[in-house]
Amino acid sequence: MTGCDRQGPGVPQRIVLYFYDELEPAERASVERHLQSCADCHRTFEELSLIRSALAARPRVDAPADGDWTAFMQRLDAAVRVEHGLDGARQRVNLDQAVVPLARVRAPVNYVPYLAMAALLTLVTSGVVYVARSTSRPSPSSASVGPQAPVPAPSVTADPAPVALMRPGEAPSAKAAFAALSEQHFERSKLVVLGLANKDPHRAREADWAYERGLASNLLSDTRLYRLAAEERGMKTLAGVMADLELVLLQTSLADAPDAGALQQIQRLIHKRDLVTKMDVAAAMGS
C-alpha cells in the first residue's frame, strides 16, 4: 500500500482489515507505514479503537436476565422430550433442582414406535366408533333441551377419537370424521391456550393456575397421539401445529403453582409460535 485507498468519506477497507488483523504481514507493514503519514486514516483507526473500547465497556450478557439457568434448562428439557415423543407428564422434572435432568432426555429405549403403534390402534378403533355414532347423532338443536351443566369449562378429559389417521386412499367419510375430530381437539385446546395467554401472571390464583394445569395435562396425551399419527401419515403441517401445542401443554403441566415466571414463559411461547392462529388455520383447512 503505497498510498491512501480512501474513496470519498467512507472508511478505507484496508484500515478495517488492518484493525481486525486480517492482512498478510507484508500488507500489514505497509498499512502501518501509511498510518504514520496519513492523518485521515490515522483518525479512522483511532475511531475504530474507540468503538472497540466503548463496546468492551458495555455489560457482558451471557445468561438469562436473572442469571438463573433453571427455566432455560427446563424449557430445553421439555423441547427435547417433545422431540422424542416421550411422556413428559409422567417423567416430571424436579423443579427444585438447579439443573434440569436432561439425563432423562435420551432414553436408551426408543418408545416412539410403540407409542405410535398404540396410538394408531386406539385411534382407529375409536374413529370407527365415532363415525358410526356420528351417523345417528341428533342435531345440535335437539341435543340439549335440559338445563345446562353448571361448570362452563370445556370438557378436556379425552377427545372422542383423535384420528388424524386417514391414510391416502382411505374412505372420504373417514377423512371427514378425522377432520371434524381434529377441529374439535383444536377447539378444546384453544380454550386452554387462550386461558393461559390471557391470564395475568401476577394475579393468577393458585386454584385457577392448578385448574389450567389440569386441563393442559388432560389434553397433553391426546395431543401427542394426534402428532404421532400426523407424523406417521406425513402430515407435516398438522404435526407441526400439534408439536407446538404439545410443547405449550407440556410446559404448563410441568410448571409449579403459582409460578408467574413459568406462566410468562408459556405466554411468550404461545405468542412466539403464534399458536392460536396456527390452530385456527389448521382447523379451517380441515387439518
Binding site: 467512507g10 472508511v11 477497507q13 478495517v16 482489515l17 481486525y20 486480517e22 483518525r43 479512522t44 483511532e46 475511531e47 475504530l48 479503537s49 474507540l50 468503538i51 472497540r52 466503548a54 463496546l55 465497556a57 458495555r58 457482558r60 450478557v61 451471557d62 445468561a63 438469562p64 436476565a65 439457568w69 432455560f72 434448562m73 424449557r75 430445553l76 423441547a79 427435547v80 422431540e83 439443573v99 435432568p101 436432561l102 439425563a103 432423562r104 432426555v105 435420551r106 432414553a107 436408551p108 411468550r268 412466539k272
Partner: protein
C-alpha cells in the same frame, strides 16, 4: 472430558453428556444470541433453538472438527433464521444478489439519536448495531465480539470471503457514522 468425547457419548445415548455439553457452552451461545437480538426474550429463543439443533445433529458431528466452529455455525444460522421468521423483509438469503439489499435495509429500531441523550457511547453503538441489517450484524458480532476470522465466518455462512469483508466494512462504516451522529468522536474525546 473433551467436547468430542461428550458428543460421542451424547450421540450414543448418554444423557449426562448432553447436559454437560449444554452447561459448558450455554454462556457463549447466549452471549452471541443476546448481542444479535438485543433482548433476553429473543436471545433465549435463539439459544434454545441452537441446542435443539445440536441435539438433532449429534450423530452428524465429525470427530475431527472443532466443536466451537460447529457451534458458531449453528449459532449464526439460528440468529439469521430467527430474524427471518420475525421479519419477512429480511428473509432474503445471503449472496451477492441479496447483499445490496441487506446492506441498505436498516432494522426498524431506535436510532442513535434515541440513545445519544444517555451520553453513553457504548449504548449508542449498541443501538446502531441493533439497527444493522442482519448480514452486517452477524458478521460484525462474530468478528468483533467473538474474534472469528473472516474466513471462518465465510465458511460458516457459506459465503465468499469478499462478501463477508464487505459486510464487515459496511457495518464499521455505519458505526463510525453513529459516532459522528452522536458527536462523540475520537477527536472530541481527545
Amino acid at each position: 472430558m473433551a467436547d468430542s468425547d461428550l458428543i460421542s457419548r451424547a450421540a450414543g445415548g448418554d444423557p449426562t453428556a448432553f447436559q454437560a455439553l449444554v452447561e459448558r457452552h450455554r454462556s457463549m451461545v447466549y452471549r452471541v444470541a443476546y448481542q444479535f437480538a438485543g433482548n433476553h426474550y429473543d436471545a433465549e429463543d435463539i439459544a434454545q433453538e441452537v441446542f435443539l439443533k445440536v441435539y438433532r445433529s449429534l450423530d452428524r458431528f465429525r470427530q475431527d472438527a472443532q466443536l466451537t466452529s460447529w457451534l458458531y455455525r449453528i449459532v449464526m444460522n439460528a440468529c439469521i433464521d430467527h430474524r427471518r421468521r420475525q421479519s419477512p423483509v429480511m428473509s432474503a438469503p445471503f449472496g451477492e444478489e441479496a447483499e445490496r439489499r441487506l446492506l441498505n435495509t436498516p432494522e426498524e429500531r431506535p436510532g442513535p439519536e434515541d440513545h445519544a441523550y444517555a451520553g453513553e457511547l457504548g449504548q449508542v453503538l449498541e443501538g446502531e448495531i441493533a439497527r444493522l441489517p442482519q448480514g452486517q450484524r452477524i458478521v460484525f458480532i462474530m468478528r468483533h465480539h467473538q474474534g472469528l476470522k473472516l474466513s471462518e465466518i465465510a465458511e460458516a455462512l457459506g459465503l465468499a470471503e469478499g462478501t463477508v469483508k464487505r459486510q464487515l466494512h459496511a457495518a464499521v462504516h455505519r458505526l463510525r457514522g453513529a459516532l459522528a451522529h452522536a458527536n462523540v468522536t475520537a477527536g472530541e474525546r481527545a
